[in-house]
């Protein structure tokens, strides 16, 4: 290991993630960078709807709370922030961060917004074939609400070179949020595929935050994890050669072990030899982990090949309504009464001619998530669940209404009925030639 190292921490692994672990990292992690990954597949489409209602909105709803929590320690310790909390409106998010910084007395704080991931106009002008379904974006018509390309690290590198203390983006590949700072600090070339592959390994390991340090891991008696209520989020001390030491703040909850690292390395990976990102096609097959002390794991290896010519674009579209109802039964015969309840709802929807598709009837506690088809000891309680979709909000609402009507019209002892209708915001994807996407960086100063 030669040269200086960079310490980069993961402050959030999804939009609603805990806030204190990020504050702990900013205060005690001796970090250079703190990264917040807050954009799930569908988050940006939901944010786009908020932006249409108010042109100054459309960024992450927790931006204000997170920034107020972490900015003081980041400012005091010289920690730069990179986040995709810009969602559907990074420029507005940058202005919001500057307003917060002024309120906190941080004159001079420089915030960069990365824009250009929004390609809705391009997709509307020139429809593209859907990657996972038959047809094109034109077939989705007016239902399309958002189209965002997965950008790479380049605009983040540019923003950091431009002196940004905070970089706020919309859609970028999650690992690029980490690869950007590393490439900037170490001067990694945009065509050094092996080093970008190794940087992508580090970014991928960190992007889900607590999932590396013992979150989504515990199985009592088999795989125990201490103090998950105070789970510490991970940080990587990265060397210029793209190897790293993974660890967390001493005294925080959770566990960092080789087993945790292997689980997270393969998390949501299809072909481990070809992890497609905007910057590189990373190969995870030669990654190695070894313990380097308590809650310290050294990661080496991994490689990369030339980046793809096409960028993935995530398309959000409205897809009707889902209606659902649930009601519980307990005691002797609970399963039989639950099944009777579902039969009644099925008959009622047929009798009243409700136009719903994909209707499903299941008993939570028996067969709602279990897919082995096995039955064991009859449970003391079950929760009957009916769900279906419809183009019509009214028809979807009738599903839950028929479940609620079981109180007075159904089997004995039904309790705790709930009914809901939600509008479906579905996501699909297309590919777009790289040259059709033009990222740019805007700056705001407090």
């Amino acid at each position: 290991m030669t040269g200086r190292t960079i310490r980069i921490g993961a402050g959030a692994g999804y939009s609603g993630d805990r806030i204190e672990p990020a504050v702990e990292l900013a205060e005690q992690g001796k970090l250079d960078y703190l990264v917040f990954e807050c954009l799930a597949e569908r988050t940006i489409a939901l944010a786009q709807a908020r932006r249409r209602a108010d042109p100054e909105q459309g960024f992450d709803l927790l931006l204000d709370e997170r920034m107020r929590a972490v900015l003081p320690a980041c400012r005091a310790n010289g920690v730069r922030i990179v986040t995709n909390m810009g969602a559907a409106n990074p420029a507005s998010a940058a202005r919001a961060i500057v307003r917060i910084a002024r309120e906190l007395g941080m004159a001079g704080l420089k915030v960069a917004a990365v824009i250009g991931d929004d390609v809705l106009d391009q997709i509307r002008e020139q429809p593209r074939s859907l990657s996972e379904h038959d047809g094109t974006t034109a077939d989705l018509g007016d239902s399309v609400v958002s189209a965002n390309a997965y950008l790479g690290m380049a605009p983040i590198v540019e923003a950091l070179a431009g002196g940004a203390d905070v970089v706020v983006t919309g859609r970028v590949g999650d690992p690029a949020l980490f690869l950007g700072p590393l490439a900037y600090e170490f001067g990694w070339s945009a065509d050094d595929w092996d080093i970008l592959g190794r940087g992508t390994v580090i970014g991928h390991l960190l992007e889900c935050a607590g999932q590396l340090t013992g979150g989504y891991f515990a199985d009592p008696g088999v795989k125990d994890v201490p103090d998950l209520a105070r789970l510490g989020f991970p940080l990587a001390e990265v060397s210029p050669d793209g190897s790293a030491l993974l660890t967390k703040v001493p005294g925080s909850g959770g566990r960092l072990s080789v087993a945790c690292c292997k689980e997270q390395l393969l998390y949501e990976i299809l072909d481990p030899g070809a992890y497609l990102q905007a910057d590189v096609v990373a190969d995870f097959r030669t990654v190695r982990f070894e313990m380097a002390g308590p809650d310290r794991v050294r990661v080496t290896g991994g490689s990369g090949r030339a980046r793809p010519d096409m960028l993935k674009v995530s398309i959000g579209y409205q897809d009707g309504f889902i209606g659902e109802g649930q009601i519980s039964y307990a005691g002797l015969g609970a399963v039989a009464r639950g099944r009777l309840a579902l039969d009644i709802v099925r008959d009622r929807l047929a009798i009243t001619g409700i136009d719903a598709e994909d209707l499903q009837y299941e008993l939570i506690g028996l067969d709602a998530v279990d897919r082995t088809g096995r039955t064991g000891i009859e449970p003391r309680e079950v929760r009957a669940r009916a769900v279906g979709r419809s183009r019509s909000a009214y028809a979807a609402g009738r599903i839950g209404a028929e479940v609620e009507a079981l109180y007075t019209n159904g089997p004995s002892g039904g309790g705790g009925a709930v009914a809901s209708v939600r509008q479906v915001l579905a996501v699909t994807s297309v590919l777009l030639p790289r040259d059709r996407v033009a990222p740019a960086v805007l700056y705001e100063v407090a």
Binding site: L270, R285, D367
Partner: protein, 103 residues
């Protein structure tokens, strides 16, 4: 023995795909795992799961197998009507697969 005695799992999703990694506690058991655990074994065990097609990626250096189960999420997280739309509970359901050791 059960798969749970040999390995741990993590489950993820991508569109209509459920992805399940099966990771050995002891890499020495790789040949046994690779011999016993296939897409077909998983398909039989999760017989109520609609799998159109599946792939198995082999990771001998990590001591792991990565399973990609297409069609498993009924159209994907954003459209699915399932209680567990992400299929996050699926991996744990594999752990009682019986693994007969090489004698």
């Amino acid at each position: 023995m059960l798969l749970r005695d040999l390995a741990h799992v993590r489950t993820g999703d991508k569109g209509d795909i459920s992805q399940i990694s099966v990771i050995l506690y002891d890499i020495e058991n790789y040949a046994l795992l690779a011999d016993r655990l296939s897409v077909e074994v998983i398909r039989r065990h999760l017989c109520a799961l609609p799998i159109f097609s599946g792939e198995r990626y082999e990771l001998p250096e990590l001591g792991a197998l990565n399973f990609v189960l297409r069609g498993a999420l009924s159209g994907g997280v954003t459209r699915s009507l399932a209680l567990d739309a992400h299929g996050k509970t699926l991996g744990a359901q594999l752990l009682d697969i019986e693994i007969i050791s090489i004698s």
